[in-house]
Amino acid sequence: MAVEGIKKAELYVHKSNLEEVLGALQRTASFEVAASGADQSIEGVVQAHPELPRVEGLLAEARFLLRFLEPHFQDKVSPVARALGEKEEISLEEGEALEKSLDIAAISDGARSLERRLVEIRSELAQIATTEALLSHLPDFSYPFELITSGTERVRGIIGTMPASKMPSWRRDMETVLSGMGEIYASTPGEKEQEGWVAVFYDESISDRVMECMTAHSFSKVDVPSALKGTTEEEAKILSERKTFLAGEEERILREIADLAEKRVLAIRTLSDYWTVLRDRYQALLSGTSTEQVVVLRGWIPESGVKRLTKALSPFGTSVELFLFNPSPDDSPPSLLVNAPWSLPFENLTKLYGAPKYGEIDPTPLLAPFFFVFFGMCLGDAGYGVITVGLFMWFMRKYGRMPSAFKGFFQLFVLSGISTIIVGALTGSWFGDLVDAFSFLSFLRPAKNAMLILNPMENPMDFLAISLALGVVQLFCGLLIAFYDALRKRNYMGAFADTGGWIVLLVGLLLWGGVASGFLSDGVALTAKILSFAGAGVLVATQGREKEGIFGKAVSGLLSLYGVTSYLGDVLSYSRLLALGLATSAVGVIINMLAGLAGDLPYIGWAIALLLIVGGHVFSLAVNVLGAFVHSLRLQYVEFFSKFYSGGGTLFSPLTYKTAFVSIKNDSVE
């Protein structure tokens, strides 16, 4: 339990051994480099490793290649499987050898030229498509486009569009203007077309008058690509031939890219990871300071890692010196959570909320039993529990090497499923009332009933009482932890006045309530009253202690008693355990009922019933697992944590191998 002790470390490394020492740090994964600037007690300059720019350059090339090639790569390992740990293992030596064997610059030059060619082809294809769209408006245009694009010595031509309604008057006027010194082309617009295409070819000498006439009829000129020379028919043929050629070219290049991807992607991925490892290593230096001969790295080492690290550094003898200090109150060291195997799966829940600050309590083992029970109650159906356990066990078997964060979550769901089975069996819910709803399953009824001790569908009030009682238990746990924590920090006012006052008052009120409702004998009544008034007295006396003046203190003290409503609200919040558990079973019952009704239909009834049962329960399982997870978690975060835990720390993140595609073999140590 709790957060492991962290030592503040200063590591002095002689430059001759820098590379190897950094490697050792990365291998042991027990040194977190602290950001620079925190401590300027040592004179020196920040100096980048000479290799850093080179590695960063290579990494950029690798990223470009992966971005370019991966869409064309048929991966044998799915991304999900890889995320779950299906990674090839390599050693750093293998990475180095691979780097030497592969000329990454040549490969990316090749890839770049392929990419450039592909872009050119695609933009030319787009151009052709535009030209073809233009030509499609002029199917019967029998003049060579050359007349428009370049003209002859005396003849000029323009082409464009004008409103269809203006075309007849334009033709009349234009014929007058031309008076035999030119020719007219006009398309025949369809009935629904607003615009028609027109072209005029005219003698240069009358160009002013032609333009005037065109403008008068709302003509808008269209620029024709200068490559067009012949008639529509001729040009369309040329274009379609060019298109076929380009399409073939594109296919050839795509094949080439696919070949390249097939051949290189795996190697580039490996290298990308290898270079990432090197880059992380060199970047660590940016946080250190260096003098002429020595580099100083500051950081954090967990106590358990000290031995491992000293051992890893021992081969370097006197060229390395490690100094350890206890963190001072001004420091903010990272937190490393250490949990026993039984509570380890629940660590993720703590991390979801936020890591504890260094020196604070790690709430993981404290929330673990509650989350376990609450999830079971919220899901509350043994059938769903069996499926949950089975599904996640299967995943864990299939992907044995999954990273610990994933593994934790999978184990969490297996545990939650087990809890669900227990609660479901005790409340007699197996896929809702599947066993009771269908007579052919009646042989299972005795087994089911033997395990049943409380049916919440029939006795919801009893189940509600259990839910609220669990809430009271958890809230008192929270208060006791806060009490202990305050004592630990020698904050006696916080322990006895703030937390202690509430504990006494709440115990008193609970007993009082018990007497009033007849559960407890009247003999307890006096104790209950004394406790209540004592607790309230302590609160009134102490809660206003930061206010000025006796009046302010008294008012604040009295007002603090109002906080009792928040405890009441907290307890009532646990009623969701009943509501969600009931909702799961009830939805299951409804699914079975609908299936039963459908089963009575003739001929295909059984098929519909089967579909309803399978589909319905899968849906219900998905919705209710989500609900159970979220609500059990909320009870921890909101009701439980608010009593003693605030998070706000940072997790210990050592210099280590952070890879995406392969994992780095760690054979040379331990």
């Binding site: 009030m461 509600l464 969701r576 969600l580 009830a586 939805v587 409804i590 979220v630 909320r634 909101v638």
Partner: protein, 158 residues
């Protein structure tokens, strides 16, 4: 009068399923709009977005649940029809109101919170835990409404 009792129970069931379902539809819709926006930037967030979008959907299920309970109680779903007086029917109708009202409004509010949470994971995907808890805070009140409807229905003796 028997018929009036049954009809009142049906009215209650219809309100529970209808209003809570409508609220969920609006809530899921609000969250979905936000999610679609986030996914135009990063389609890889589909899983997380879907999870957050689904959260305001539970009110509809709670409403459906109470509706089933209500019509089960008056024997409309197979079994023997039960004689229901007008007062009992009115009682069932009232018992359906908490989830109808609480479900409708909480689903919309939860949808807005989910939408905001979706925006949050767009920028900080590592904070998913917190993003899921915020909409769950809203859902508490739908759960309480559900609970009250269940307890009230359970309390009405026929």
């Amino acid at each position: 009068m028997e018929l009036l009792g049954v009809m009142l129970a049906i009215l209650g069931a219809a309100m529970a399923a209808g209003w809570a379902g409508a609220g969920s539809a609006i809530g899921v819709g609000i969250a979905g709009e936000s999610g679609a926006g986030v996914m135009t930037e990063d389609p890889g967030k589909f899983g997380l977005v879907l999870l957050l979008q689904a959260l305001p959907g539970t009110q509809g299920i709670y409403g459906l649940l109470i509706a089933f309970f209500a019509i089960l109680k008056v024997g409309l779903l197979g079994g023997e029809p039960i004689a229901v007086t007008a007062y009992q029917g009115l009682g069932i109708f009232f018992a359906c109101l908490p989830i109808a009202i609480g479900g409708y409004f909480s689903a919309i509010a939860q949808g807005k919170t989910s939408a905001a949470s979706i925006q949050m994971i767009a920028k900080r995907p590592e904070e998913t835990g917190k993003a899921v808890i915020l909409p769950a805070m809203v859902e508490t009140y739908a759960v309480l409404s559900l609970l009250m409807s269940i307890i009230l229905l359970n309390g009405i003796k026929l």
